[in-house]
Amino acid sequence: MGMGCLDRQQRISIEKVTVCSIPKPLPTVPSKPNSAMMDITLKVNGKAYPLTTEPRVTLLDALREYIGLTGTKKGCNQGACGACTVLVDGRRINSCLTLALMNVGKEITTIEGLATGDELHPMQTAFIKHDAFQCGYCTPGQICSAVALVAEGHTKSDAEIREWMSGNLCRCGAYPNIVSAIKEVAQGGSNASI
């Protein structure tokens, strides 16, 4: 995220404060201590991660930039694409639209937490089997969303799967194969229980 995304009026007001006319990246990780820094612990994939963050750090940025779990992807960063989908207490959410410190005490599951050792989660196996991705950028979000979808039971038809997966966009257009993969897992396929 650079200052190029700010409008002119904001840039001018920032320039007045910082006496800086050259746009430079806004750091995600604060470069200097902030009075509002808070010590929190996030529980991700069964493991506790203590962090010191500003309140404005989203769960997505905490996972990627503070904890180093980069499997969760930053797409639109505004809740429109679903690439950042993770499970919080078993429910799928967009991690870009919640603050890290609003998720203290909750069980957070990311794409890194689905496999058991070297054994992939059945949804991961099904995505590979059905070639349910091309570039792969949306895939961690698709898979987390799909795991929740099967648990929710909204898989009675292709149309229902499509409707309930509409929060996960795929610009490569792998949708037909994504539906096939989910359908197989919902019907007990890809050789494992969820």
Binding site: R56, G79, R91, R92, L97, T98, M102, E152, S166, G167
Partner: protein, 327 residues
């Protein structure tokens, strides 16, 4: 996002007092609207009070209907048996909103407080009377294809984006709020304000007031209700137009009808004109068409959104037909 202070509330009085006493303080529940707007510097609170720990997430039967806690999530309300069985229009409106992920996050109170999706409002590079009072409205001479045709003023054409609120105006819901002076009840039709000359004032909430619940009375027409949403793509999109309708028919005559319209109003739109046109008529296509004409008579379309007039009429007729077939 600008830096801000954060505190999690453990009881309502303290949370309300903090927001009332702190300039630029805001409540945060699901966060799906406010964090999005904070990233775009449209919202710049200095203090956020997290209200998720407050006891306002129950969905419970009351003697007169149902009370939906302000912190209940859209997904939980949509799936609740008491809502599905007694108020299908609410469940349908919720399930046609946003995505599964967002519905798991977004609260009912936050849904009513969500801001318009007008592109000029969401981009601080442009003037906007809603964002900066008196700065101007670029939509009037610019992009207004998705803007309102009902309740507009020469200061603002922005559409209210909520589907849920359209269902609630059709069902005479009451918003229960708590503030520094205690609790009060605001009819949902009076909760959102017309833009007039003050589009920056969007709701009847006073400083520090917090939505704690939405009460929906049960009526004979509640069960025979329906939400129809028309949009540019099949899912995960805001309404071009939508209709929330509820109807009661006795001996071949409409004895009571409720009509809400979405995607066309600067606030969730209740059409008294359509309801009056339906009252006492037989539930026929002809009656429905007359009601649709009446509903859109006050419309003031602009060049790019004129299509919404006919689309809204057809959407309302279709929704009424669907309810007519239930009876």
């Amino acid at each position: 996002m600008r830096p801000f202070n954060f505190a999690a509330a453990t009881e309502p009085t303290e949370a309300i007092a903090t927001v009332n006493d702190t300039p630029e303080a805001k409540f945060i529940a699901g966060g799906t609207t406010i964090l999005d707007l904070m990233k775009q510097y449209v919202e710049t609170p200095t203090q956020l009070i997290d209200i998720n720990g407050l006891p306002f997430s129950q969905i419970e039967a009351t003697p007169s209907g149902v009370r939906i806690g302000a912190l209940a999530r859209m997904s939980d309300v949509a799936e609740a048996a008491i809502i599905r069985e007694n108020f299908p229009v609410i469940s349908e409106a919720l399930l046609l909103s946003a995505s599964a992920q967002l519905r798991n996050m977004a609260s009912i109170g936050g849904n009513l407080m969500q801001r318009t999706r007008c592109g000029y409002f969401r981009d601080p590079a442009f003037p906007c009377n809603k964002r900066v009072h008196g700065s101007g409205c670029p939509a009037i001479n610019g992009e207004h294809q998705r803007h309102a045709i009902l309740g507009t003023s020469d200061k603002c054409l922005a559409t209210h984006p909520s589907d849920l609120a359209v269902a609630l105006v059709a069902l005479d819901a009451i918003v229960q709020v708590r503030g520094p002076q205690g609790e009060r009840r605001i009819p949902i039709t009076e909760f959102h304000l017309l833009p007039g000359n003050t589009p920056h004032i969007e709701t009847a909430l006073q400083p520090g007031e917090l939505i704690v619940a939405v009460d929906v009375p049960k009526a004979l027409f509640s069960k025979s209700s329906h939400y129809l949403k028309v949009r540019d793509r099949a899912s995960y999109e805001f309404a071009l137009v939508s209709a929330a309708v509820a109807m009661e028919v006795q001996n071949g005559t409409i004895t009571s009808a409720r009509v809400g319209l979405g995607g066309v109003g600067t606030k969730p739109w209740r059409s008294g004109e359509a309801e009056a046109a339906l009252q006492g008529q037989p539930p026929t296509l002809e009656s429905f068409r007359e009601a649709a004409e009446a509903a859109l008579t006050p419309a003031k379309p602009m060049q790019q959104n004129a299509f919404k007039v006919e689309l809204a009429k057809r959407t309302l007729v279709r929704a009424l037909e669907t309810v007519g077939e239930m009876l």
